[in-house]
Amino acid sequence: MRPNSNPIYSGRGLTALQRMRLWYVALLLVGSVLVVRLFYLQVIKHDYYSKAALASQLKQYQIEPERGVIEAHNGDGLLPIVLNEKRYTLYADPKYVVDAEKSAVAIASVIGGSSGDYIKAIKTPDTRYVILAKKLTKQQKDKIDAARKAENEKLASKRGAVFAWKGIGTQETSVRTYPQGDLAAQVLGFVNDEGIGKYGIEQALNDQLKGTPGQLKAITDAAGVPLAANKDNVVKEPVAGKRIVLTINIAMQQQLEEILKKGLDSAKSKSGGAFIMDPNTGAILAMANYPTFNPGEFYKVDDPSVFTNGTVSAPLEVGSTMKPLTAAAALDLGVVSKNQSYYDPSHFKVDGFEITNIEEDGGAGTRTIADILQLSLNTGATWLLMQMGGGEINKQARDRWFDYMTNHYQFGKKTGIEQGYEAAGTIPDPNEGYGLNLQYANTSFGQGMTATPLQMGAALSSVINGGTYYKPHLVDGYADSKGSLQDAKPTIVRSNVVKRDVGQDIQEFMEYTFSKNHVLYGFPNFQGNYTIGGKTGTAQIANPSGGYFEDKFNGTFMGFVGGNAPQYVIVTRVDEPGIGGYAGSRAAAPIFSDLASMLINNFNITPKGQ
């Protein structure tokens, strides 16, 4: 209608109205492009983007179960000995930290530490996760949350503000705590930073304690926090680890640790161990070694050897404490009788080597089996072994003694006590090797073989309890997460270890030995009101380069105490005492005596006849 037939190109002929409408059409076109694009993204490519969304939004987590707590007996009740506590790991995601210096200063002002270290950590290149501090307490974590909140409230309305706490986060972790301090540390072991039990109960029963992790599959926010109620969420609750009740008696353990420490000090020894067990069940009531460690600060330990429970992990040549077991074997075989006497020449030649008595009263003479123990005669033990062979050490003697050591007394194999790194000890093969007769003569008095103190205690228990070998154990019961406690029944490993009357004979011999030597053993007030007996052991320490050290000994003592019958078996060990005399009687026996007195005074021992 206008004269200009092509107004758009010239532009001049267009009225403002036309220009506006032209522009409006262009705007509508752009709008429709957007709608078409939205249709493409939301309808045609919907599946692709839904998958992409799930790939980043759906996360699968393992929910850590709570580790089982450990309790122990205390009087008639139970007390926790290992608990869990929530602690927090402070970490940074450097990608989100705005200003490392500002963040570091803020962190240092709340939890202490050097801001320089934090800066360095936050500036770690190529990572999305740097640990800044570990094991923060709930209070420290609350302080951090408060600081973060205060900052947010102050700066939230300011665009462009620099958040010191941005990219800094806390993660909950669980750590073990020890309400009884370092009590029974080596029995307990510890849980390392990866949550794995190391040493002691924690290692041996890691599977039961750790529980079963739960699974969480959930749509989460970018930080990984599950968004509530999403149909795609899958939750499998974790199953908490089992609660474990130990056979340990806390009061007895405390006193044992005190007495052990005192005894080692007076024997001028750097290390040793002791334990008390119930011979009628195999339950360990108290067990300790020295030196020990604080499980709450296991990471501060330089020398990892303090982690080991030497009583179960460090076999040693047991020395003369073997003699009652040798005598029991001979009596049980019927090759000697209880009151039999024999002529002891004070030395035997075996495989060209002299067997002599290194302990006191080694002269030749007529001896009884009770004398063999009371005087601790190596030649007596050798004679007992000879009787097993019909008068000489031979294959029959070796086979029989080997059978007793390994099948009756369970030497050379682990007892299966709930402890990490249990050692089996070694018993020489009766038919393989050189100088077998000499080697076997040595084993009859506890040399040339090794066993742990625990194995010795368990074997003695089986002899004096009437012949039943109970598996030594530290766990009295398990409870699941719901709390119902199931008592673990004592496990019988072998019945008829020795005949019941043989056991009583050995008990008598050991009581006799103790009564003869009680002053030397540091038990001056002996009145015969209690069943108390024992046997010392002094073993030369094997030189790693062959033979034995002339001047290095381990002292051991193995005994029992009770009212009418033995109620407790005690084994003590003192490594390289720094005082003169025989290590067994001078260093290890006094610890036994103190422990026996302690048990008599405090732990339900009723004097004979009452």
Binding site: H46, Y48, D221, A222
Partner: protein, 421 residues
Amino acid sequence: MIGRSASVGRRASVLEQGGTGRRHRPDYWLPILSILLLVVGLIVIYSISPGLAAQKNVSDNYYVNKQLIAIVLGIVGFIVMANIPYKYWRHWSKPLLVVAGIATVVAIIMPVIPQYPAHRWVRLGSFSFQSVELLKFALIVWLAKFFAERKAQGGLGNTTETIKPLLIVLVVLGIIVGKIQSDLGSIGVIVAVMTAMAFVAGVPLKRVVMVGGVVAIGAVLLVAGSSYRRDRLATFLHPEKDCQNSGYQVCQALIAVGSGGMFGLGVGNSVQAYGYLPEAQNDSIFAILAEKFGFIGVTVLIGLFAAFFARLFKIAERAPDVYSQLLVVGILAWLSTQAIINIGAMVGLLPLKGITLPFISYGGTSLLFVTGALGMIFQISRYTSFSPSNLESEGNRYESTAHRGRDGRPHYTAVSRRPGA
């Protein structure tokens, strides 16, 4: 033609009564549509507020409350502006430009914070605003006056009179906003506003194209001169190549939009707002909306915007004079360009520019300027004629109204009445 001449005739009679048009009922569709859009934005912010609050460790209703306050302030701004006769702005255009200039200088010399390295913010205590928002508004007010005057003088195509000042303004703004403040998005909006106003005012297309060429060269220089921008351009072209770093926001926006599907995940079910998509309440709010309400929902939203812009067009078409018409056109260009740039970025058609979606995005200052500008248009809508005016043929009318403005207020009839109703 008959219709138009009739309209012109009637307009002439109105002019004889001594005014730019009779004062009558304003266009109530304008506030109604604005409120609808604001409510949509508020619903989205309300539904994602707990998630945002959790990340920032503030109370659940922090964002909703602040947005509600902003809306209330915005309504006040609307009412105030609706009651300031729009013609006053013609006298205030220069002082306003000076204030905007000062604000811009303040924003530039203010020490920046590492998190926001751009010199864009004027911070006064806990209050802060982007100086460019004021600048855009001042520019529209000034351009309306500038073009109206040039048009009255018949000098719209004149290089010295019209094109040169425009080019100078453009270059200065390009340097200040584009280069120093690194705010290419706002430059885009400013260019769109100037182009639309020039075009509607009647600047010959040849000139518009020429200026466009200068802008294009400037843009290329700006992009080529900054590694940051080169990266952003590369990201825009292939966001999926670097979804973990520079392409992160685009990738997350596309995931939000795409996973919404036809009907959306539902108002309470956005996942991307929970820390995945940066600026979920702000620049990226459209993607969250698309995730929640799906294709149907965003089509309705775009329809709402289209209706809103159509309303502005109608007001512009029927504007009582060139000056007010250009004001409406400028504001329309400003808001529509922001919406297009924002949505375009969220669907991967345009590079991310940090431009808010009018009415919907969280944030007080941009909302205040938007509602204020709408108040001005609302006021203009009181004086529109009831059929499209053709101001083209009344080039000299500006003179008469201008002189009337100086004389005093027009004589309004006491009762608003629709003529012919």
